[in-house]
């Protein structure tokens, strides 16, 4: 039995990204072997005659249709195009992504405005979820990003987030160089 074919079957049957470790366990292979097979599949699919591709995202791999055929796929009724995120939602999402887990009041300190509705819309879109509660008064809910967030923004893991950088050159105060903005 071709392990590569079996691997393809697993990818085909799984709409969510699967980790190479998971695939290796199912196929009784070494993770390294699975990685090699995945790379071979990826190459095969990259052929212009193929309509789908292998994507490494959210710590795993998945198959998806190639973006250039979206217009056709859409005709099937697969309208995946979500409404674009508002600036408020995007800023809130960025704060959650880089500072998670984070409470709503902490987000509000950074944004300087209330973020209730932004957080709700991010949860509705499956980009953000509750990650437990903070210690302290009221035990506020902690928020963090989901796998869907990684997929949506084509990230393999949170470490893939581009480093925070300021466009402003004078990031440090002249007489207070100890102030830092990283977490």
């Amino acid at each position: 039995m071709s392990k590569k074919a079996a691997l393809e079957a697993l990818l085909f049957a799984s709409p969510q990204p699967v980790t190479p470790e998971q695939l290796a366990r199912i196929l009784s292979l070494q993770t390294a072997q699975v990685r090699n097979l995945l790379i071979r599949l990826e190459e095969e699919y990259s052929d212009a005659d193929r309509g789908f591709m292998l994507e490494w995202v959210a710590g795993g791999v998945r198959l998806c249709s190639k973006p250039e055929f979206y217009a056709y796929v859409e005709e099937l009724g697969r309208t995946a195009r979500p409404g674009t995120l508002s600036q408020a939602a995007l800023e809130t999402l960025a704060i959650i992504a880089y500072r998670q887990p984070i409470t709503r009041p902490q987000i509000e300190v950074i944004r300087g405005v209330r973020v209730d509705s932004a957080v709700v819309s991010l949860i509705d879109r499956g980009l953000v979820e509750e990650k437990g509660r903070a210690d302290g008064p009221g035990r506020p809910i902690l928020y963090g990003t989901t796998d869907e967030f990684l997929i949506r923004f084509n990230l393999n893991s949170l470490e893939d987030l581009p480093p925070l950088k300021s466009s402003d050159a004078s990031e440090n105060p002249p007489e207070q160089p100890s102030l830092t903005f990283g977490s």
Binding site: P15, E55, L63, I151, R152, P162
Partner: protein, 262 residues
């Protein structure tokens, strides 16, 4: 009018956004903000945005107050006591730090937005077969059972559901005489009250019974009358124009005895 302001709202996500915009526009060193000048500009914007949503405007006003406070502190000569020397810090530092932190995430949001651009065009296989957290089965998911059977099962389940247990309440004795008094007070204020309304207001079964008995008593005394305009229509209790209460005299005690502790 409103739409013009909406446009402004879209531009500035909040007071920090507006402030950061002003600082950038003027090419100001963020650690040395000319606070009087910026405050003036900031307030000028607020004037233009006066008819904003109240909540947003509130946040903008808080920032305005903060700016004015910083401005005032910078005008005042610093009070230098030996132990509080560190308090002589530039009051603008916190604001500058907040602005920078905000700018950091505004920038990151922009990058994220670009990163997510066009991602919807990569379509995975739909989750029809494997909804999350459910083991995929490729048999007939209903096991050959039709909608009718399911509906019947639902009806059976509903029928066998136990009614929720009422929350036990402390048992209070309710006296009919007391209800007679409160009904009189009610009808002194209102001439006509719907029977249901009267009953719905009662908080417990004994209260309902006492109210009902008090009602009967008052009708018997000729103080109230019950009317029903149509068959099955709502019953209305009405105070009689000339309350004839002659019958009722001397009966109060009897009611109280029979009614106490319903």
């Amino acid at each position: 009018m409103e739409s013009a302001y909406r446009v402004k709202l879209d531009v500035f996500e909040g007071p920090l956004d507006l402030l950061y915009h002003l600082v950038q526009q003027e090419e100001i060193d963020i650690w040395d903000i000319p606070i009087a000048h910026i405050t003036q500009q900031y307030l000028a914007y607020l004037d233009a945005l006066r008819e904003l949503d109240i909540e947003v405007a509130g946040e903008f006003l808080v920032m305005a107050a903060r700016l004015v406070y910083i401005k005032a502190r910078m005008l005042l000569p610093e009070e230098r006591s030996e132990d509080a020397e560190e308090d002589g810090d530039d009051p603008r530092l916190d604001l500058a730090a907040a602005l920078l932190e905000y700018a950091l995430f505004k920038e990151a949001a922009g990058e994220l937005g670009e990163r997510g651009e066009g991602r919807w065009a990569y379509l995975p296989r739909p989750e029809v077969f494997a909804p999350k957290n459910v083991k995929p089965t490729y048999d007939d998911p209903t096991g050959g059972i039709g909608v009718e059977e399911l509906a019947k099962a639902l009806a059976r389940a509903l029928a066998s559901m136990r009614p929720p247990r009422p929350i036990p309440r402390p048992y209070n004795k309710v006296s009919v005489a007391h209800k007679v008094t409160s009904l009189r007070q009610l009808f002194a204020r209102r001439r006509r009250v719907r029977f249901e309304e009267l009953i719905q207001e009662q908080r417990s079964r004994p209260e309902v019974v006492a109210t009902f008995l008090a009602l009967l008593e008052l009708v018997r005394r000729g103080y109230l009358m019950a009317r029903q305009e149509s068959v099955f229509g709502p019953i209305e209790i009405e105070r009689r124009a000339q309350a004839v209460e002659s019958l009722g005299d001397g009966e109060d005690t009897a009611v109280e005895e029979s009614g106490s502790g319903v």
